[in-house]
Structures are given as structure tokens and as C-alpha cells.
Subunit: 449 residues, 2 copies
């Protein structure tokens, strides 16, 4: 039940090239449930996933956290299973299971031996419609999610800071709300809220079944028709129309002070376009841009200049979420070495960006990034699972099979000119949110500091 944290760089696309074109098979059941099969016979195991096209971005105002709460409650009793039985059965069959909630999706995964696929489908189909919301379980599980918030968010200055940054970046869109929920709203989440949310969204025509591993498409189709096929489509499935952002016209700042901060840092975030059906070129250029500026490792421009050459940063990086239903964030982060102020760290970030905008792209670096993106993960053991997860994310945000299959080609087609044009559009518009995560000032500081 982990949140999606930073698995969103969207860079590990190579498996598509290796396997997608011929191997991945996608179709629909008669009730509207989409099915994706990713055959891989390297191990006699399967990953079975059901993704719902609903997440924290689809919650009613005042009910932040309900998508994640329902995810937790899906492990309770159904008409056929006792509370907790789902995971117990998976484990008894030698498998593992998990679930994830993001702003755009809620997903349930199991990894089991290939011959247990039918059992997984039977149990997952059972809880899709027959989960029972019990008052005692709801009360208990509400304590669990509140404790989860305490552990993951309230006890972490960085997590609280990120929460404040998002709430500031988004003026109108529900992406500004935390997935886990605002504590005061989580405390009020009721059985009726959970029931209503589940009744609205948990239907086969809002779900995507993804099976990856040692299976054939025909076998998956037969099992899916047996287990999921009998569940009727909902005629009342809502359209996912979230409030969108007004133009961002004012720079904003977040100054968050916390005793627990070990290394103060500066974060700069701005809205950025994302992959759209039939229109992925800008997002592809931004993927390359983020990798050039601040991808993992010390070869990115920010890391090389600030960490290696100048030794002014402990860590400098860039992040971009290309795979999101609505426009999301492009961000820069700089953790200065002790002795440098956050204002200096902020100026350092913009100095490197300015240099990049005037100097242009180092072609060696560009080719290396392109190669890495193409080569990344081809031989990694979990590439099939990674591929399955990516298909789930991409389908839940509204991309089509053609978009997903063409994405590696769109990435491969990005030119240095495309990247510089995207950088210019992103950074020439001066509107962004700048955050400083700090330790408390000295005791005698003025009240305004």
C-alpha cells in the first residue's frame, strides 16, 4: 500500500522497444474492462494487476484521503472472504501482493505462480463489487491510515514541505491535495463516504486488467471472461473532469521551518505539460531535458557543475512527471553544502539554467542520455513487471495503446533543438513556486523572519 513517490521519471522505456511491438496484446471484455497481456516466459510466474481509473484527484472536496482509504478497505471481508483473507491466500500460495494509490489511479497487484492466475482473478473480481464496508473495520482502518500519515508525513519535515509546495503550486486542481489526505479530513472519513466512492468508481468499465508473465493472451482472455466477464458495467460511471488551473501569473514562495531539518534545501517547481493522446512530443522533450539537467547520477548538468566542479551542492537534481492525467510539475532541487545560504543555492540553480539556455546542449551528453533511455532496463529482471506497471499508469491517464507503443519512438525522435525549445518555453516563463526548507532561525530573530 505504498504511495507512488518518485517512480515517475518515465525514463525506463526501453522494454517497449524490446517487447512491446509484437508481444503486448490489448483488448476489451464485453463489459468494458480493458485487458493487457504481456507474455514473458523467463519465469513460471505472473503479475496480475487491476488498475482503476480513479485516484486522489477524483475525490470530492473535503474528503481528501478517501481514494487511499478505500484501497485499504479493499483488503477487508467480502461476501466470500473474511477480512484479511485476500493477502493470506496470496501468501499461502507463495505469492506477494500490494496496492497503490496515486492522484490518477488506484491499483492492486499480485505476483504468483502462473497456475494461480485464475485464483487471483476470482478474488480480485470478488472484491471489485462485493467488498463489505463494516463499521468496526472502517473505524480500525481509519486509525491505520492516520498512523500512516503520522509516520510518513507528519514525522518528516521533507514530506510536510513537499505537501505545502504542492498545495501552493496548484491553485485550483486537486493535485494540490495530499494523496494520504489532510489529517482533519481523514479523521472525518466515514463508512458512507467509502461506500459512495467505491460504488461510483469500482466497476469493470473503469478498470484495466494487466497480466504479465508466463501466460498466453488466449488463456488470459478465457480466465478474464470467466471471472470478470459476469460483472456488469456501470451505466453511471462519472467523467473524470477535474477543476483545472487558472493561468499561473504570480511567483510564489514557501518558507518552511522545522527543527528536524538535517540539510536545508531549495526546491523550484512549475507547471509543465504532460503526455497527451496523440501529442507526446513536448513531454518527450521535457523528459530528456530533466535527464540532461538533473537526472540520476553525477553526469547531469546540475550535479556535474554544482556537486563535482564547484562543490557548492550536496545534491542537485531535476524531476519531471510526464505521465499524469492533467498538467503536473517540473522541479529543480538543490541541497547546498553547509555554509552556503538557500538564497545562494537558489541563485546557483538559476545560474546553471541560464548557462544552459545560452550555451545549449553538449552533444556528447545528449547522445549518452538518448542511449541510456533506449538501453535502460532491457535486461533487468523486473522489466516485465516494470512494463506492466507502466502500461497501467499510461492507460489510467487516458493514453491509448498507440500512444503507449509509439512513446519510445517519440522519445527517440527528440532533437537537441526540441529540448532547447521546450527549455525555453519552460524557463522563460518566470512563474514558479520556490520553496526553502530550513532549520529554525536563531532565538532572537524578528517575528517576521
Amino acid at each position: 500500500m505504498l504511495h507512488r513517490l518518485a517512480l515517475v521519471l518515465g525514463l525506463t522505456v526501453a522494454p517497449y522497444m524490446a517487447q512491446a511491438a509484437g508481444d503486448v496484446v490489448a483488448f476489451f471484455l464485453d463489459n468494458g474492462m480493458q485487458v493487457v497481456v504481456i507474455p514473458d516466459d523467463r519465469a513460471p510466474a505472473v503479475t496480475h494487476m487491476v488498475w482503476y481509473r480513479v485516484g486522489a484527484g477524483d475525490e470530492l472536496p473535503g474528503q481528501s484521503g478517501i481514494a487511499h482509504f478505500v484501497e485499504h478497505l479493499m483488503f477487508k471481508a467480502t461476501d466470500d472472504m473474511a477480512s484479511g483473507e485476500f493477502s493470506t491466500v496470496v501468501e499461502a500460495n507463495g505469492g506477494s501482493d500490494n496496492a497503490f494509490t496515486s492522484w490518477d489511479y488506484t491499483a492492486y497487484f499480485q505476483r504468483v505462480a502462473a497456475d494461480r492466475l485464475g485464483l487471483m482473478m476470482q478474488m480480485e473480481a470478488d472484491r471489485m463489487r462485493d467488498i463489505i464496508f463494516d463499521p468496526v473495520e472502517v473505524a480500525t482502518e481509519r486509525s491505520v491510515i492516520l498512523e500512516e500519515r503520522a509516520q510518513r508525513t507528519d514525522s518528516s519535515a521533507g514530506a510536510l514541505f513537499n505537501e505545502q509546495m504542492r498545495a501552493t503550486l496548484f491553485l485550483n486542481h486537486p493535485y494540490g491535495r495530499p494523496i494520504i489526505g489532510w489529517r482533519h479530513e481523514m479523521e472525518a472519513l466515514s463508512l458512507a463516504d467509502a461506500q459512495t466512492f467505491h460504488d461510483l468508481w469500482y466497476h469493470p468499465n473503469n478498470a484495466i486488467l494487466i497480466v504479465a508473465g508466463d501466460v498466453t493472451p488466449d488463456a488470459v482472455r478465457a480466465l478474464a471472461e470467466q471471472h470478470y466477464g459476469p460483472i456488469p458495467a456501470s451505466p453511471d460511471l462519472p467523467v473524470r473532469a477535474r477543476p483545472t488551473e487558472p493561468p499561473h501569473i504570480a511567483n510564489r514562495r514557501v518558507d518552511f521551518t522545522d527543527q528536524r531539518v538535517a540539510n536545508p534545501y531549495v526546491s523550484v517547481q512549475m507547471l509543465a505539460p504532460v503526455r497527451e493522446p496523440g501529442n507526446q512530443a513536448e513531454a518527450a522533450a521535457l523528459v530528456i531535458l530533466a535527464e540532461l539537467l538533473g537526472g540520476s547520477g553525477q553526469t547531469s548538468l546540475l550535479a556535474r557543475r554544482l556537486q563535482v566542479d564547484e562543490e557548492r551542492s550536496l545534491y542537485a537534481a531535476a524531476f519531471y512527471d510526464s505521465t499524469s492525467l492533467d498538467p503536473s510539475g517540473f522541479s529543480l532541487v538543490n541541497v547546498p553544502v553547509p555554509g552556503l545560504s538557500l538564497d545562494e543555492a537558489e541563485a546557483d540553480l538559476w545560474r546553471i539554467i541560464d548557462d544552459f539556455l545560452s550555451d545549449g546542449i553538449d552533444m556528447d551528453h545528449f547522445e549518452r542520455i538518448k542511449f541510456q533511455i533506449a538501453a535502460n532496463d532491457i535486461y533487468s529482471e523486473d522489466s516485465t513487471q516494470g512494463l506492466a506497471r507502466r502500461w497501467g499508469m499510461e492507460l489510467t491517464i487516458g493514453l491509448g495503446v498507440a500512444d503507449i507503443e509509439s512513446w519510445p519512438d517519440v522519445l527517440a525522435a527528440v532533437t537537441p533543438e526540441d529540448v532547447m525549445a521546450a527549455a525555453s518555453r519552460l524557463f522563460t516563463d518566470p512563474v514558479h513556486v520556490t520553496g526553502h526548507l530550513m532549520r529554525p532561525p536563531a532565538a532572537n530573530a524578528e517575528i517576521s523572519q
Copy 2:
């Protein structure tokens, strides 16, 4: 159809003392419509108002501006009247009419000769349920509200800045949305949206009738029963439960730059408690605090120190909205003299606040403020109308008759210690939003500036 702008200082409370205790009569019709009568025979005229307990704070996300749009559409045709006939009839009878939308209420006013009261009720009752939403009128009026936004907001750097400040101050509550609406959402407001909003909220059990002027309570009751009495209560009236704010834990800043700024200024805003049923003491202390620090005229602490003594400000003031359904804002503003930076102006504000917190209250000033609050407007010609408007605002935010009638006494009972304690609670918590409204920097400024 003006918005409520700054009529919210809540200080002109004296008419209550002069007239309220014995004179104001409040009761309910059988269908739940509340009626307030404020007799005043100084002129043979009446003010007739219907207030609905609904405003921009009650809009669905993505439909910002719908409350105000419906207010506009209420002047179109009903089953009995042609489009525009309402105002034409008022004018033909020598009267004037208007309407207002705020975050917490939507109100319709007419001022006419006392013998036309029945006619006003007949027309207002007609449009409460029988307004017709016509596709052509909806399209035309949408252009009107978009033009209103262009005129009032988009053409004004100060208005855009205020909009950004509110959107930043409120992390979760709909008070962060503009009453007029975000332009991109206004453009999408449909007939169905207006119809749904009206159907949900425009009912006698969500309305307050206020009649002030040359009438008797008995006459008002008879007319109200005749015209409004037959309209059935809605059994499906929603509870006004808006999303509330999480704790404000990070200072935030808004830097808004606009070519049109004549005088750059700094604004500091923070959340503050408001009048609650049975619990108005903190709000009363904050009313006095705002007046002491930065009330109108040049005798307030900020104006005297920064404008008069030091000549560092063109204008310095404090504002507090005591009468709001949910916690609202306390704000400080400082427009520095040319040559002083906004950073200096910001420091000046906090220097005066710091001095106030350590020096305490000048008792002469305190007594003067208390006297002004008690004396204000007793003899002004429009005090009856002002009183009527205040009853409307106060009832729509959920205060009871007892709260409204006791408010002057609550204000009168505020001690200097109460004010200092409220100031300490407000200003010792360092979390606030600071805004700088600026002219564009020089051409060669860095991209980050």
C-alpha cells in the same frame, strides 16, 4: 450586482444599540423562510431584501463563478415576467434594485415606496422558483460576466494580485477561489450548471427576508405569508459543509509583477477566527485590534507611525473580516513612499507590530476607538439600510438573533488585555502569506528575478 469588496470591517455597529434591542422583529414562516423586520418611519420607503444562504464558497469545484452567474440570470424571464422586467418595474415604481454575491451569500435588494412592498415580494417570490434558464440568455449573460471579469479583475493589477493572494492563503477552502470565477471555468458554465445550482439552493428554507423602513412587523408578516408562504420548503437542502483548512505551517509569498502597477505595495495576510454562534469574543477583540492598528483615518498606529511621523508610507492599514462563515483573513497593507523598497515596507509593518506587542495599547486611543465604534453611524441617513444589510450578512453566516443582538455588548466588553491577547495569538504564530505587488524589473534582470 456588485461584489462585496471591503464592506466587511464590521465596525459600524452602533445602530444596533440605537434600534435593535426593542425594534427588530425576527420570525419564521411555516416553510422555513426567516423574516426580519426593522421598522423605521423616518421616510415613507422600504428596503426589501432576500438573502440566500449560498455563495461562491458553496460552488462545486470546477464551477467557480456559478453563484454570481445565477445572480445575474435571476434578472431574466420567469413564467410571469419578461427578461429584464423585474428591474424595469422597480424603476417604473420609482425604486432602485441591486444584487450581490459573496462567498457566503447571494442577496437581492430593492428600495421602493412603502406601499410597493407587496409588489416587490410578488416579483421576488416569483423568481425564487419560477426563473427560466433560457439557452440564449445564458449565452448572452455569460459574455456579460466575462466582460465583468475583464473590467474588474483582468484589467487591474491590484485585483489580480488580491486573487493570487487569496488563492495562496487558502490551501483547501473554497474562499481561495474568486467570486467572479476563474476565467477558464466561467467560459464553461452551462445552462445545466445554473439550473442545478438554482434548484439546489433557491428555496424559502434557505432564504432570509429582510424588510427595513416604514412598515410594521404585522404588515410584513401578512404580505410575506401571502407571497412567500405558498412556496414549499425543499426537503433536499444541502448542509453547507465546505472543505476546511489544514494547519498553516509554512510561510508563503506571492510576488506579482505587472506593468500597470502605479504604487508597489506589500500585503500580509493570515487566517483569523471569525464570529461563531455563542462565541464572538475573539472576533470582537480582533475587530478592535484591526481598528487600533490600521483603521480608517490617520489616527491608527500604522498610519500615524508610517504615514505621519516617519513619512515612509503613502498608505498603511489593517483589515479584518469578522463576519464570515468560515475562518477568514486578517491583513496588513503598506504602500511605501517612492524610493523605499517593498522589503523595507514589509520590515516597517513588522517593526510597528513588534512595537505594539511590546509597548501595549495607548489607552486614549483605545477609548477613542471604542467610542467611535459605539457612535458610528447612529445618525447617518442610511443606518437602517446598513442595519438591514448587517442582519442579512450575519444570519447567512449562521449567527442567531441572540448573537446579532449581543454583538454590540460583546464589542463594548472588549478590554485592552483581550486585544493584546488576541494580537499575541495572531502575530506570535509566524505563519502568514506575504505579497509584493511590483512593477517589472529592469530589462537585464536575471530570469529568476
